[in-house]
Subunit: 498 residues, 2 copies
């Protein structure tokens, strides 16, 4: 095996070099492909992990050994391992050797709806390659173990059978009509947003909703107020789509509207998270809400601005009642409301929605038709049924108490492990905690080390543009299943500080 | 009913005005919504048609009558009817009154897999609102009646049951790994494209594939060769995404590479349809293929260009064997290959794919991760199974002979109805016919009138930028089920010429 297979120049058959030590992983490297070999190695490791051939905690071959076995430069194998470690698959322990990250939560169990805490999972028997894994503290995910899959599967299967030939054609670009009706009703009852189904547009996730808004209403170079700190993915998308970001500071009452008016009174948009600011978790005060609406509605028609309200996790509030959406106060038709099914149902659906201003429905219809970015009928129809049959609100209610519990045990475990060196701010709602660190600690460096330990942690600084905030870590609690699990991941996190 | 319901100022309850003549349609107009009333009327008509309360051929109330009944201006009802007619739902017959378009093919039959020819369909019993309808001659649709829905439903149901909790999380942005493997194998065997699964990226339709390419490789202002005439939807998308379109003429041998070199030697991209030019249907000659590749690969690395090969319906070829893809000749790694499942399977899937150049895989990985535009796991996994179990190639084979038949009967019927006044060019492949009209006829005007008659027809001129072509109509034959049907729609088309 030490001799590499002879390369046949110009041959169309690839020469395969099986790896002795890793033959169980069916690792092969194809030297005739122009694809960089380190990426080939990465992908094979991911597949082996997903298929259960490599389990969390398993040692992987040393760099030197694997390189010599494959007759590759050590740098190639090192590059592969580094990428795998960056993505949380491998844990580099220095002299102790490199292992598959013990923090990987392998959640492919057939019937067990409980997420198995790390280092205790049973390897998969069925081949199910390259399925996503859930890392401890991973943001933006609801409690996937608690989703009523049986009910959901029944609904999808029924829709599948009754779909008809027309369900195979291009879906309506604006969304499946009965789902638009359901969303309009839900928003009226739960969020105080009065709208017609014609105003509701279904999109393939939140980014697609933002894209539809910009595609329909924005011109290149338009200024947009952006919360600082603010949601990283939105910042990335906006800065790529030709609008000019104007960072506006956030304090305890949410976005500082007065500052925004000073920095860019003529901005065409403001993107805000009023219910539960992303990432600080504060709520936009009533006074600020009125000031924001007044700013957007002032002046001649062509001088007015649009407010994009991202109401991503407003459903989760553990103290007091959910606040009505900013849109419910919108007398001048300036607010574009966006919400998502990723947080209440699950992100694999790839479904979100936006509510167009009543006066702009025809433009948004043309915009969505032009984008040709519709979502499959099957899931849209199934979500409509899920809502119509009451499962949506039942699940939401169940999750509110589950998250209150998971939040409490996570906070408790962090306090127990970190003591006074970490301050945990329990906000009124949301799906993550903000853990404030001691002055002088570097949150992004700690977060990077935590990721090397197989945890999915973000430093608050990464969400800041110009803002100066005390260092902090953003930690989701939604998939922390019990006290043991919470303690274990808190201890893992502690090691990232050493 | 002549007295409108009294409006209560400031009331949050909407005042509903039921329509006497259309009460069976549950038509209501909500005067308290800011949504334009004509759009409310439109949507209610569409729902009534989709639910079978209004059937093809049914007369709708006269504008004057409906306006007076609703106490609306006649212009409001006229605007609604005009939009409905533009979209093919209504047929305005002047003095003979307005009817629901008899051309609407209502394809929601439960078990009947046959598409019912127009004016013969059975109204739906089950409520299934706002499902898409298939219009005669509609481009870009495969034969939806012939898709093996039973097999497909079985596969999807199985994947649904075995999905596991991880299937609820964010899908891999680059696509579901086993599907990427299947596509790589398929392309190798069927299209002569040798690539690794790592090079294959799954996207939510063709537009998303183009978006991924531009997002990853383009800079604002980059020039792109674009076939003239060329695919309208791509032209629209490209002109919105900040690249500069350079129309390059097409002749019998495909895109005129020499002209492109004269017009924009420094273009960074060329978007081409080599197998079956869209819309002319010609094949790019071998000489032109080599010239195109030579142009793209010439110069220093930073001077080279990318060729985007859109291989959208290459699978359908009725004379001779399918030609290998342009990508199969690509020695310099300059071709980005794109294909779609919309034509061989069905467009409601919203799945396409692209093959990244081997040297650019890491960039495309970052690009796809940044776009967060992944597709639901369920359909990706099901398509992988559909391919693995041989259904994909079986269906493709079946469709080749079905389309050859449908093409023949459609061409025959057109000849019978139009005689010498229309010339039909049977190209080697594809899913539509190009019917050349007599000089001086205005194809776009005829196509617009045909749409008023409930047919989905495009004029060739709409695909031209600077190109001067004889007038022509683009007519899909894939959903023309038998000789009777073909004759009926040909006669309907004839009326658009009068």
């Amino acid at each position: 095996m030490k001799t590499p297979a002879k390369r046949v120049p110009g041959s169309s058959r690839a020469s395969k070099v099986p790896l002795a030590a890793t033959s169980a992983l069916s690792l092969t490297v194809d030297r005739d492909l122009q694809l960089p070999i380190y990426l080939q190695i990465c992908q094979r490791f991911k597949t082996a992990i997903a298929q259960g051939h490599l389990r969390p905690g398993d040692r992987v071959p040393a760099v030197r050994g694997l390189a010599s076995e494959l007759n590759l430069a050590r740098g190639t194998v090192e590059a592969a391992y580094r990428l795998l470690a960056d993505e949380g698959y491998l844990l580099v322990r220095g002299a102790a050797g490199t292992v598959v990250s013990p923090g990987l939560i392998n959640v492919s169990g057939q019937k067990a709806l409980k997420i198995t805490p790390p280092a205790q999972q049973i390897p998969q028997t069925e081949q199910r390659a390259a399925q996503p894994v859930i890392l401890p503290f991973q943001m933006g995910l609801p409690a996937l173990d608690a989703f009523p899959r049986k009910v959901w599967n029944r609904i999808v299967a029924r829709r599948l059978r009754s779909g008809g030939v027309a369900s195979l054609s291009y879906p309506d670009a604006a969304g499946y009509w009965p789902l638009r009706e359901r969303v309009a009703t839900y928003l009226g009852l739960s969020r105080g947003v009065v709208c017609a189904p014609e105003q509701v547009f279904i999109t393939a996730g939140y980014r697609a909703a933002l894209e539809l808004v910009l595609h329909t209403l924005s011109r290149r170079g338009d200024k947009i107020w952006f919360e600082d700190p603010g949601y990283m993915n939105a910042r990335k998308f906006l800065s790529e789509s030709g609008v000019r970001l104007v960072p506006v500071p956030v304090d305890q009452d949410g976005i500082m509207v007065g500052q925004g008016r000073k920095l860019a009174p003529d901005a065409r948009f403001a993107l805000v998270t009023p219910s539960h600011q992303s990432p600080l978790g504060v709520t936009l005060s009533l006074e600020r809400r009125m000031a924001l609406l007044a700013w957007a509605g002032a002046g001649k028609p062509e001088e007015r601005s649009w407010i994009i309200e991202d109401d991503y996790d407003s459903e989760y509030r553990y103290q007091g009642r959910p606040l009505p959406a900013l849109k419910s106060l919108d007398r001048d038709d300036r607010v574009i409301y966006t919400g998502t099914f990723s947080k209440v149902m699950f992100p694999g659906l790839r479904l979100a929605y936006m509510v167009a201003p009543a006066g702009e429905v025809a433009r948004f219809q043309r915009g969505s038709a032009g984008m040709r970015a519709s979502s499959p009928y099957l899931f849209q129809a199934s979500v409509a049924d899920f809502m119509a049959e009451g499962h949506f609100s039942r699940h939401l209610k169940k999750m509110r108490s589950l998250y209150a519990h998971r939040r409490a045990i996570t906070a408790q475990a962090l306090l127990q492990v970190f003591g006074d060196s970490m301050k945990i701010d329990l906000q009124a709602g949301g799906m993550h905690l903000l853990a404030t660190l001691q002055d002088g600690e570097e949150d992004t460096a700690i977060a990077a080390r935590a990721r090397q330990h197989g945890l999915s942690v973000h430093g608050l600084s990464d969400f800041c543009i110009a803002a100066q905030r005390p260092p902090g870590l953003l930690l989701s609690f939604t998939n922390i299943v019990d006290t043991d699990h919470a303690l274990r991941v808190a201890q893992q996190l502690k090691r990232a500080f050493d």
